[in-house]
Symmetry: C2
Subunit: 380 residues, 2 copies
Amino acid sequence: MIYLDNAATTLKKPEQVIDAVVYAMGNFGNASRGAHGYSLDASRMIFGTRQKIADMFGCPGADHVIFTSNATESLNMAINGIISPGDRVITTDLEHNSVLRPLYRLENESHISLGFVPSDRKGCLRLSDFEKLVTDRTKAVVCTHASNLTGNIVDIAEIGKIARRHGALFIVDASQTAGFVNINMEKMNIDVLCFSGHKGLMGPQGTGALLVRDGIEIRPFKTGGTGVQSYEKSQPAEYPVRLEAGTLNSHGIAGLSAALDFISATGIDKIEQKENRLLRRFYEQVSGVRGVTVYGDFSSSLHAPVAALNIRSVDSGEISDCLFREYSIATRPGAHCAPRMHEALGTREQGAVRFSFSWFNTEEEIDIAADAVKEIAAKY
Amino acid sequence: MIYLDNAATTLKKPEQVIDAVVYAMGNFGNASRGAHGYSLDASRMIFGTRQKIADMFGCPGADHVIFTSNATESLNMAINGIISPGDRVITTDLEHNSVLRPLYRLENESHISLGFVPSDRKGCLRLSDFEKLVTDRTKAVVCTHASNLTGNIVDIAEIGKIARRHGALFIVDASQTAGFVNINMEKMNIDVLCFSGHKGLMGPQGTGALLVRDGIEIRPFKTGGTGVQSYEKSQPAEYPVRLEAGTLNSHGIAGLSAALDFISATGIDKIEQKENRLLRRFYEQVSGVRGVTVYGDFSSSLHAPVAALNIRSVDSGEISDCLFREYSIATRPGAHCAPRMHEALGTREQGAVRFSFSWFNTEEEIDIAADAVKEIAAKY
């Protein structure tokens, strides 16, 4: 079995991630909900993990790292907590439904106005379009760091400068890049950074984070028990409890913590180089094959470890099924929750077969996958 | 070490729960996000777990079981998704901040009107007060099944009848009772049932559920990727995807599934009997001790496995610390996120030391804890 659906979730986790979850499940109480050792052990681990995340992503402080259950929750918190009725928001055609649907809802219910930076047929955005659309009346720019469909990386450092120049807040969806490429909130002018823990960060499902720069006010999304200030009728104003209500997933966060250690010890640069090498190896073998269309722009040196393709006009679901049944290769077909991206690529009906790679994939697996694509292309 | 903070989270999980999480972390892809085996295995497990939950709680169908990250999220979804500006809502003094804070927010921002069924000094509610407060203008009754502080059980079957008679929706917080006592949505006229997976259900942290009766419309809380209907601008209308956005925590849910099997095999009746026996054994030893005040009503045959007490006027934090440091017994002091309950008991300043029991506690542990209370009471 060859697992090439790592952009959905990484299947293979570092061994210490599983060990950490097992340890947590046997030893951790409810974090911040008691003063006994089991609770304090969970609290300390969680604080330590906040610090690791803050350090990895250039976030001003551990207390500004908020744990969520996935990137979608982080993005809902950021979008619903920052954008107010009547606001103007700029976003892009590359976005996932986790950005689009919260924005569409606000457009519908709170009469915000949305501007979309258009994608070209290669899935690329132009910085000049951001320059045109982002004005002093813009409340926020919400942008993915990489398309989950094409893998094209967006130049968030430059977009951050544009947003900052106009006083717009910059909210970044790093679901496809966290753990794969270096991100620094401070240097890139990112105000809110959102990601999941179970993709490139190789942690357990049920984990995600929202990182918020100093001085940014995000209205609480969920409210409830915080273990502190229990007589206040409203959620405490301080981060992280401002945005965290109820029992934290200390079992999952313990696994994420171990995954962060693995990534730090390995080095994000090294991870990026290896995954990029796998991606290029795959791309070079399949891109010239007759009948195969690979989407996205591979001319840039930086590209998320994702390649989406189609074989002639065959439905992507049929190709993906064939890959799994006949070659034991797991890929993902269809829309990938990226409707505007498919419109831009002209693949709304066909969808696309996405191959996505991780640190644990091997060159041999890549070659088998590329050979399979070639064989299927010859058959259809 | 004796862990008696099971109302916060059960520390000891059945072994198969940990095994199931380990298996999931090595074998599950992203549920509903692909058609390959790893994704389908996760999807099948998740559907099967929905069915087990529906069966256990008398929910009309597996598709009406929504997975959340904890009970707080479930309650936020239910309260924010059902109650509209101007609505009248009846709730009680027994509620946790996971009910109170969402309601207070709506009171503040959406001008809903709140009616509170008062608690007496023993933490009891009177059904006649529900009869008085619930009228045909009431949109919903939101009520806990048991106080997380005193352990008093509320007669939700009777309250369900009152709510139904007046056409009010009945939202129940079963955080302290799910897995400990039989609950049947159909028979008890419960419209929405909310609970966490990591307390009495003995599953992993990061799990919870919301169960909704047929025909009840809950507006989406989070919106985002669903893996289906990706070209729709809004969240799909069908449950469960209507309320589930983003990657589900299949690792945690796998553990919860194994925990449900353990509970079913053991029998909820048997669990209730054992935990009740432990509770009574503790209560009988400490309730008559000079200087010890035990809160709540122990005259009823049904009582959640929770006993809160104080020793004279000593701060509950000091007693709880002493129990942990000198006796290695983990309890929880303070407010327990139940501000109105403390007001009713007259323990706002002192808080209370909560002892809460699980299936895995032993009579020997209970006796050690009771002896410790006696010793401390003699010292202070």
